[in-house]
């Protein structure tokens, strides 16, 4: 699969994970402070940062193809 498509898909997955960790209610795995069902903004921020990195990576990959 093309690297820029993989980057785009990963960016969407990371954004979904960021939303998942930001909303209280569901059980959040891999959380060690507060309650697992509370909001975990650090996790959400890290996944937003990863989504940004994926978007940037996808852009570089798309430009490299041209």
């Amino acid at each position: 699969m093309k690297a820029w498509i993989v980057g785009g898909v990963l960016a969407v997955v990371c954004l979904l994970l960021a939303v998942f960790y930001a909303i209280p209610g569901p059980y959040h795995p891999f959380t060690f402070s507060g309650t697992p069902t509370g909001h975990h903004y650090t996790h959400a921020l890290v996944f937003v940062a990863l989504a940004v990195v994926c978007v940037v990576g996808a852009r570089f990959a798309a430009n490299a193809r041209r």
Partner: protein, 302 residues
């Protein structure tokens, strides 16, 4: 908190964070030997740990400030252009910035998801001592393989070695290699394994020179240590930590000065020297600590 304990822990953290001998391992083993476990498990230890890490990262930023400026400028230029062409990034700083970002992701992610269970499970002095011996073995193996690879390359100059040419600079590193070094960095969440040691050995296994490996290792250390400390800073505002904050800040300053002197020494040292003295230290210190803790568990020593 006992000021003498704080001073010694700050010195220990500042020096061992950058030397390839495991700072986490030393902060588990030495208090275990000296009987400071109460200090380590007290509530006041958190602000101290945060300020020690902040001090170390400020020292790294101060030492590498010119590099970071060039990397950030190069990173911005390539980010806007969206490509790493020689016209956009003639000296390769933009690409190096991207390598640091790629190398930071595995450790950042694994640290976020697994740091607490790993530290909790492995923060046992005798285990840390065993892992310190293993760390020494990894350093020794990395150094020996690198030497063998280099002498082989000298003999057969025409043949390309398995991992590419030996003694390369950062500009020749691939993104996959940066990610591999980042993965090696995350193993340092286990007390006894050294972050800088593992990243340097992985860099050398991928053909980097000692100096380039050390430089990349210290560049990788800055964002990860700084971010880990910044995440914890809001906790310092809690009323329970206010009394211990001044002494913790003092510890941070001591750790920062020790870290600055350490990185200055190490960058000079790795221009011409090798990893094996640190490997021998880890094996000897780890073995002695292991024997001590084993004897302690049988009540033979206090």
């Amino acid at each position: 908190m006992n000021p003498i304990h704080v001073l010694l822990l700050a010195l220990l953290q500042g020096v061992t964070e950058l030397f390839p001998v495991s700072s986490l391992g030393h902060t588990v083993i030495i208090p275990g030997i000296l009987g400071w476990n109460e200090t380590l498990h007290s509530d006041a230890f958190l602000p101290l740990l945060v300020t020690l890490h902040l001090g170390t990262s400020v020292a790294l930023l101060t030492f590498f400030w010119r590099d970071w400026l060039l990397l950030l400028r190069g990173g911005m230029r390539t980010l806007i252009a969206g490509r790493f062409t020689p016209e956009v990034d003639p000296e390769g700083y933009g690409r190096q910035f991207a390598l640091v970002v790629v190398g930071t992701i595995p450790a950042g992610l694994i640290g976020l998801l697994f740091q607490h269970p790993l530290e909790k499970f492995f923060s046992i002095p005798i285990l840390a001592a065993a892992f310190l011996v293993l760390n020494g073995a990894v350093l020794l193996a990395g150094e020996l393989l690198w030497r063998r690879q280099r002498s082989k390359e000298k003999m057969i100059a025409a043949q390309a070695p398995m991992f590419g040419s030996v003694g390369r600079s950062l500009n020749e590193m691939t993104f996959l290699q940066a990610a591999l070094i980042g993965c090696a960095q995350s193993a340092a969440l286990i007390p006894g394994f050294s972050r800088s040691g593992l990243t340097m050995v992985t860099g050398m296994a991928n053909g980097l020179s000692h100096e380039a490996s050390a430089r990349f290792s210290f560049l990788l250390a800055t964002p990860i240590i700084l971010l880990a400390a910044i995440v914890e800073v809001p906790k310092l505002m809690g009323a329970q930590y206010r009394a211990d904050l001044p002494i913790a800040v003092g510890g941070g300053v001591v750790a920062g000065v020790a870290a600055y002197l350490s990185v200055r020494f190490l960058m000079k040292y790795f221009e011409s020297n090798r990893l094996d003295p640190f490997a021998y230290y880890c094996v000897i210190a780890g073995t002695l600590a292991f024997i001590y803790f084993a004897l302690q568990s049988f009540n033979i020593v206090p």
